[in-house]
Amino acid sequence: MLKLPIYLDNNATTPMDPRVLEAMTPYFLQHFGNAASRNHPFGWEAEEAVDYAREQVAKLIGADPKEIIFTSGATEADNLGIKGIFEMYASKGNHIITATTEHKAVLDTCKHIEKQGGEVTYLQVKPDGLIDLAELEAAIKPTTILIAIMYANNEIGTVMPIKEISAIARKHGVLVFTDATQAVGKIPVDVNKDGIDLMSFTAHKMYGPKGVGALYVRRKNPRVKVTAQMDGGGHERGMRSGTLNVPGIVGFGKACELCMLDMEADTLHIIKLRDKLETELLKLEEAYVNGSREHRLPHVANISFKHVEGEGLLMGFNKNIALSSGSACTSASLEPSYVLKALGLGDDLAHSSLRFGLSRFTTEEEIDYTIKAISDTVLKLREMSPLWEMYKEGIDLDSIEWAAH
């Protein structure tokens, strides 16, 4: 039986896997100890649980457990990674290279650094959402200390060429930070094969709990250090103070273990459904996929339906299907998605986009329902869209002098 509403906003957050909750439960009431309490069994149990989770997390990304710094989530890990490097390597330089399509947690951190006297280069992306490697290399200067490029984009799912990026960085002795929030647990990520020095990721995008994430910090070749951004008890090898969120960390570990075990099966299942959704929706006239289709996360599809507005479109079914739109109207700013605009999409196409994020729990029945609901709404709204009528009459919409707001 189809259960409504359907959740297809898994880039925002995923539901927790019941197996994760099961692993966490004893750490709320029974084993509630502080992992930093060294002198009694409550502390020992908690520490042991954290150590085990640290191994599970490290294993998923091919790291050593000592290289995992637990945080409150990816935003904190982004801040710690980027600001921490900027401060720690101040004597070496002050220049950071990033891209315009990064998450706000990275972009705003970079802006903060600019105010602190740092210099930041924001690389443009190509229409497929990927950066140009030659441009990246050309942007490196003697003062460059860090390249911060995301593993995969949260809005369009585009997967960046991290291996190639890190090869360039190595050549110039620059560190690589990557926000891998959307990628870890979904596609194989290996910090050694990928040449990553620092990496942020979070549990709640991979069927784990909210409020726990991690920063991977390389310990060998080269040994990387970050300046702590919070003062306190010196937890996490002095890089992140604060009592560890033991149940959250246990859940994070379990989520990582499950992603590792299930990744192949999950991917097969998700790709099949995503491709069905995409193929069917692209049968509508003037529907376009945003971002690279080749270099893309298996669970993401970002599609623009020309001449209908995204929020108006969502309203047709948002009681029954949870989705997100790149339209301005869903935000207070009235600006459409900066990521879609960075691809060179006109504001009109950016306003017309929907982002689909599938999960291991998505069913074919849900996808069939979604295809029908969206197709029906697009057709209905086009019937009442003046732009669609003009398009059908062969009027070039760019030739019209719009009264700009």
Partner: protein, 139 residues
């Protein structure tokens, strides 16, 4: 953001969607907004020359639910009014009727602008001077 019942009703059952013959002298067409801003409204009125009454009104809107509802409501209000009465429709009465939140007030402004633009188009076609309106503040 939750929509008011009235917005949802207009969105689900929009009144007067369609197109009038824009070449006809008795039809005035107002096209306002811009695709880049995420709203375009086209509002048309058909006027009886002798009585000065609006006999029909149609709209098509590209935009969010509030924009669709604002234009749908505007066409309902226009029908049966004289052109002079139609000029008195202001955006705040649309806001009140639809319970639009502050972030959606621009939708009602757009509807008011569309009414004025349609009336001016009708006047121009029939040898009358265009009425000069004050610039909308919200745009």
């Amino acid at each position: 953001m939750a929509y008011s019942e009235k917005v949802i009703d207009h969105y689900q059952n929009p009144k007067n969607v369609g197109t009038l013959d824009k070449a006809s002298k008795s039809v005035g067409t107002g096209l306002v907004g811009a695709p880049e801003c995420g709203d375009v409204m086209r509002l048309q009125i058909e006027v009886n020359h002798e009585t000065g009454m609006i006999t029909d009104a149609k709209f098509k809107t590209f935009g969010c639910g509030s924009a669709i509802a604002s234009s749908s409501l505007a066409t309902e209000w226009l029908k049966g009014k004289s052109v002079d009465e139609a000029l008195k429709i202001d955006n705040m009465s649309i806001v009140e009727e639809l319970n639009l939140p502050p972030v959606k007030i621009h939708c009602s402004v757009l509807a008011e602008d569309a009414i004025k633009a349609a009336i001016n188009d009708y006047r121009e076609k029939n040898g009358m001077e265009k009425i000069k309106f004050e610039e909308s503040v919200i745009h």
